[in-house]
């Protein structure tokens, strides 16, 4: 009996608890191994040019995946992010064209600031609609955001009549340097990603609202009984998700120099996959920004590596799918073994 009690009370070893026991940790390990394999298969993988390319590409997905992780932490889902990326980018590009031609264009940077703010405001509006429908009317997140996916994508085509919108005007160069530039060779999207991920980490672990996000995913009724402003927190995560999607859309617009109506079409699945591979649990309460970053990096490394290794690109999706399932299977086997 005494034995049973003492084994109950024993602290887990450092490697068996906390970060080292998380899905994020072993997916990071898998990422390192895959990088080594890719480097062996295609030496050009580790060239500076290619690494910058990979870092830029995965940053867009990872930034949106941060927001997806927030939503998933509350046991919700946001399928509208791909469409929100496109709509925000299109509205920003159109606003930039109008503001550049208006008196605002006389002050350098003002036209761009107004356009970017306008774009982000529209993303915020979409997130607010999602959030209010889900938190106040208690619609299911899946259906609500599936509808919004269609609404926002439809708006993209209706506004542009299916054509692309070029980034033009006096601030076009400034816009490009702030979205697609680099600092000491490090691509800006990656820097934005790291800042946002760090900010989200601080928010989740060091503020009451961040803790409420976890509580909501762990036990919504308990959170409600404890006086947590459930509806406000829920609405907030959908707004954050849409804002991050909009921001990534604007970055992509700068990278491409023009926004096609089908920008980021189908990205929502890759974004959610990145969050899930990184350890976000769709039933809520588990996950974090490092998972979103690692998950997105893993997907991009595989895509990029397969291209470099001259593997038929049609196999990419299949492999990414296998990795999603493998990550979840490993997590399930692990949690069954430790009984936690």
């Amino acid at each position: 009996m005494a034995n049973v009690i003492s084994s109950d009370m024993r602290r887990p070893a450092w490697y068996a608890g906390g970060f080292f026991a998380s899905q994020t940790a072993y997916v990071s390990g898998a990422l390192a191994i895959i990088v080594i394999i890719m480097a062996a298969l295609a030496p050009v993988f580790l060239s500076l040019g290619n690494l910058i390319n990979v870092a830029t590409n995965f940053s867009y997905i990872a930034i949106v995946s941060l927001g997806a992780t927030l939503v998933i932490l509350t046991a919700g889902i946001d399928l509208s992010v791909g469409s929100v990326m496109a709509l925000t980018a299109i509205l920003t590009a159109l606003l930039l064209r109008w503001t550049s031609a208006s008196p605002l264009g006389a002050v350098p940077g003002l036209a761009m600031s107004v356009a970017v703010l306008g774009g982000l405001l529209s993303a915020c509006g979409i997130g607010l609609i999602n959030g209010l429908l889900i938190a106040r009317l208690e619609l299911t997140p899946f259906v609500t955001t599936l509808g919004m996916l269609s609404v926002a994508r439809g708006l993209c085509y209706a506004i542009t009549r299916g054509a692309g919108v070029a980034i033009t005007g006096g601030d076009a160069d400034l816009f490009s340097s702030l979205t697609d530039g680099d600092i000491l060779g490090v691509p800006l999207p990656l820097i934005y990603l790291l800042i946002l991920a760090a900010g989200m980490g601080v928010f989740l672990h060091h503020t009451a609202s961040g803790r409420y996000v976890f509580a909501l995913g762990g036990n919504e009724r308990a959170a409600r009984l404890a006086g947590v402003p459930v509806a406000r927190i829920k609405t907030g995560v959908y707004v954050a998700s849409a804002l991050l999607a909009g921001f990534a859309g604007i970055l992509m617009a700068g990278w491409l120099g023009s926004v096609p109506a089908n920008l980021a079409q189908g990205y929502e699945l890759r974004i959610i996959a990145a969050a899930v591979i990184g350890g976000a649990n769709l039933s809520g309460g588990i996950g974090g920004p490092s998972g979103a970053v690692v998950g997105a990096a893993l997907i991009e490394v595989i895509r990029n590596g397969l291209v470099l290794a001259r593997v038929d690109t049609y196999w990419q999706d299949t492999l990414v799918g296998v990795i999603i399932i493998a990550a979840v299977v490993v997590d399930r086997l692990r949690s069954r073994r430790t009984g936690s």
Binding site: V202, R211, F214, N219, A222, A226
Partner: protein, 246 residues
């Protein structure tokens, strides 16, 4: 000193009279067992005291003041806390995080208000020590035994300096060893001068822990007597209706 006084409390839901003419008074540091069959009105009574809904008739006095609660928060504000049957804890958070959920302690760093992890950890550890529970503040609730979870839920109420704690079936789903642990926790609440309403189906728990037993049947109070003056047989009879009153 009388802490809570109910005077002719009644509650109906549409045509159904769930509660009728219930008088009850509870003193500080008194542990009262509330018994009755399913549908006898125990939960309705507890929910009225906890502010989940107002009574249809009757008045409530708490600490010498007449009170009317519109929401649970109002009841909590005067010092009435509830430990729910399913404990209402977030499994994915630590014991300390659960104790402080909705009442986090902060420290200011520049313009930011951040969580004060160490203060919450220390306070939670002190609460568990006070309750003589082996619960560790930093452990996730998911990894805890039923007794430890119960301690977390009770520590939550201690944090608020509760004066009356309503416990809904705290021993319904835990092992025998943990039942003893929970009953000991209730004893410590009494020592601290906190009144407890213990709702339970388990006769041994009531007779081991409570000072008084109140029996409900069909929305009415059919007995209210000191534990020493009653017996499990009598209470069973009162619950089933074999005995009309006692």
């Amino acid at each position: 000193m009388t802490l809570l006084t109910l005077d002719a409390i009644g509650r109906s839901f549409g045509a159904i009279q769930a509660l009728a003419g219930v008088d009850l008074s509870i003193a500080a540091g008194e542990v009262v067992g509330l018994m009755g069959d399913n549908g006898a009105g125990k939960s309705t009574l507890a929910k009225i005291i906890a502010g989940n809904f107002p009574p249809s008739s009757g008045t409530m006095m708490f600490d010498g003041q007449q009170v009317a609660f519109a929401r649970p928060v109002d009841a909590r504000a005067v010092g009435i806390e509830v430990v729910y049957q399913d404990l209402a804890l977030a499994d994915n958070l630590s014991a300390a995080a659960n104790v402080f959920l909705g009442r986090e302690l902060h420290r200011r760093i520049g313009p930011f208000l951040l969580l004060d992890h160490s203060a919450m950890q220390q306070r939670a550890t002190a609460l568990f020590r006070e309750l003589k529970s082996e619960t560790r503040a930093e452990d996730l609730v998911r990894q805890m035994s039923g007794g430890q979870r119960q301690a977390v839920a009770i520590a939550r109420t201690r944090l608020a300096d509760a004066r009356l704690i309503i416990m809904d079936e705290p021993t319904a789903a835990i092992s025998v060893r943990q039942v003893a642990e929970v009953l000991a926790l209730i004893g410590r609440l009494r020592e601290a001068g906190i009144a407890v309403i213990l709702i339970s189906h388990r006769m041994p728990d009531i007779f081991e822990t409570c000072d008084r037993v109140v029996v409900m049947r069909r929305g009415r109070k059919v007995a209210d007597k000191p534990i020493a003056a009653s017996s499990p047989q009598e209470v069973t009879g009162l619950i089933t209706g074999a005995l009309e009153t006692a």
